[in-house]
């Protein structure tokens, strides 16, 4: 398979150092960068060569992809690296590398890398006109139905180049390049006075894909930092499906809650009034448990059930402590809870105040069906007697399970939502144009 891509090979002599420069597109290539003396020269039609420029800004580190190396790119085609350029924006220090890729059958493509973010670029034969009325910072480009938001606009400067090129790359300094993004894709417009507009399609490519394509280790590739112009956000293209799945799971939970709450018979199974003993004086041992009071018996019909206890009392500037035991009369199984109720009020410095409550609520879960009664041990303040009522409801609506399940279902999408937001913000922090979809 490699034979087809390597069979075409030729050499041209550098006019600067007379080195023999190998190249792979004898038909198309006309401009060459010498790897030995860093001279950019042009081969004329008559075979003579003309020096165009001698580069001074020679990179100290060899590029990640060596000239002549071969790899299969995301379009499934085999390409050879035939040249690369170090470019920068005229108005900013941002620098990036562009590797020229050549396939004898389909022509040229490019791999660009900026701060470790790779994009695979191919020419587009279409004119990607934007929506009417949108211009300047709001300009968009269209590729089919997809809207690409304007992201960057610059004039390129060529700092260094080696290899072969099928045009005079120095002419690119006359271009105005505009980039439009719809991650993971990009549209690039190249415009210059008296030149036709050229469009390119680009797509994000992961560093490991580049490494795999060219048989490199990841350590050979530049370190990735920040967020790339078309780097997909966390969750990538799965985000719309994730939203749908989350919606479906939430709907399933709500529907199940509705069905179960309608099926389960929730009703009051006890309501009874009680009166505490008159509170005794404080003792040194502080054992203040009151005398036991026993409720009427009642049935829990649909076990295992959740029982809701509502306690209401007439405490006023005093307190009630109420240990309660729920006892199964058939099995002896017991459940216990204790509620402290206190309510104080008064007037201080002409202002009335109050604190505490006169009621309390408790819940006991997993109560099997059977016949039960309550043992109550009320105790209160010295010389007080408290009247209180206890209401027991079987299978009240308990939303906490539903809320917890919904929380669990929403956890990952919520985290992802904020990660995506931060990712987009980082992406647009590198742009001179506003984020068209801010959070």
């Amino acid at each position: 398979m490699n034979d087809g891509i390597t069979s075409l090979e030729a050499r041209v002599t550098c006019p600067g150092c007379l080195a023999q420069c190998t190249y792979y597109d004898p038909v198309g290539s006309s401009v060459f960068g010498c790897t030995e003396c860093h001279t950019l020269f042009k081969r004329q039609r008559n075979g003579t060569t003309e020096r165009l420029k001698k580069f001074q800004d020679v990179p100290r580190v060899a590029p990640a992809l060596a000239l002549g190396s071969i790899g299969t790119l995301p379009d499934g085609l085999l390409y050879r690296v035939t040249g690369y350029m170090l470019r920068k924006e005229a108005s900013s220090p941002a620098r990036w590398l562009e590797f020229m890729l050549f396939n004898p059958d389909t022509g040229y493509a490019q791999l660009a890398v900026y701060e470790g973010h790779w994009t695979f670029i191919k020419p587009s034969s279409e004119k990607h006109l934007g929506l009417p009325g949108l211009s300047g910072s709001h300009r968009v480009a269209l590729d089919g139905d997809t809207e690409f938001a304007i992201y960057n606009k610059y004039q390129p400067r060529i700092l260094y180049a080696v290899g072969e090129f099928d045009w005079n790359i120095l002419d690119d300094e006359q271009l105005t390049v505009t980039e439009f993004v719809a991650p993971p894709r990009m549209l690039i417009e190249e415009k210059a006075k008296n030149w036709p507009v050229h469009w390119y399609r680009a797509e994000h490519i992961e560093p490991r894909q580049v490494a795999q394509a060219f048989g490199l280790t990841m350590s050979r590739l530049p370190y990735r930092s920040g967020v790339g112009a078309v780097q997909p956000p966390p969750g990538g293209s799965s985000w719309p499906l994730l939203k749908k799945l989350t919606g479906l799971l939430l709907a399933l939970l709500l529907l199940t809650e509705l069905v179960l709450s309608n099926q389960r018979y929730h009703h009051q199974i006890l309501r009874q009034e009680f009166a505490s003993e008159i509170g005794g004086p404080p003792t040194a041992t502080s054992e203040a448990t009151g005398k036991v009071q026993v409720s009427e018996s009642f049935n829990v019909e649909n076990g295992p059930a959740v029982l809701d206890f509502e306690i209401h009392c007439n405490v006023n500037n005093t307190w009630l402590e109420l240990p309660v035991s729920l006892v199964n009369e058939q099995t002896g199984q017991g459940f216990e809870f204790t509620k402290s109720i206190e309510y104080y009020n008064g007037v201080e410095d002409g202002e009335s105040w109050s604190e505490g409550r006169v009621d309390a609520e408790a819940t006991i879960a997993q109560v099997p069906a059977g016949r039960y009664h309550l043992n109550l041990y009320p105790s209160t303040d010295y010389n007080h007697q408290i009247f209180f009522s206890v209401t027991v409801t079987e299978n009240p609506w308990v939303p906490s399970n539903l809320f917890l399940a919904m929380l669990a279902v929403l956890l990952y999408p919520t985290v992802l939502y904020f990660l995506r937001g931060a990712h987009e913000q980082n992406r647009w922090n590198h742009s001179n144009f506003p984020n068209p979809h801010p959070l």
Binding site: L241, L245, T256, P282, S286, A288, V306, S325, A405
Partner: protein, 62 residues
């Protein structure tokens, strides 16, 4: 679509497990938050009302 679904398989499995768990606790009368039961006794009925509600007689208020 299928690829996206594959990417989300872990979320889908965990989501369905959450749903199954929710269904189970609902059918078994379990309340995941706020069960006030303090008992440590068992089905044989051993153990019972644990007093130890001390301190109230020393309640302090302004």
């Amino acid at each position: 679509m299928l690829r996206d679904l594959l990417n989300l398989r872990l979320y889908l499995v965990l989501g369905l497990l959450t749903y199954a768990g929710y269904l189970w606790v609902q059918l078994h009368g379990v309340r995941l938050l706020g069960d006030d039961n303090e008992t440590t006794e068992n089905l044989n009925g051993t153990g019972s009302h644990s007093s130890g509600h001390a301190g109230r007689s020393n309640f302090y208020h302004k």
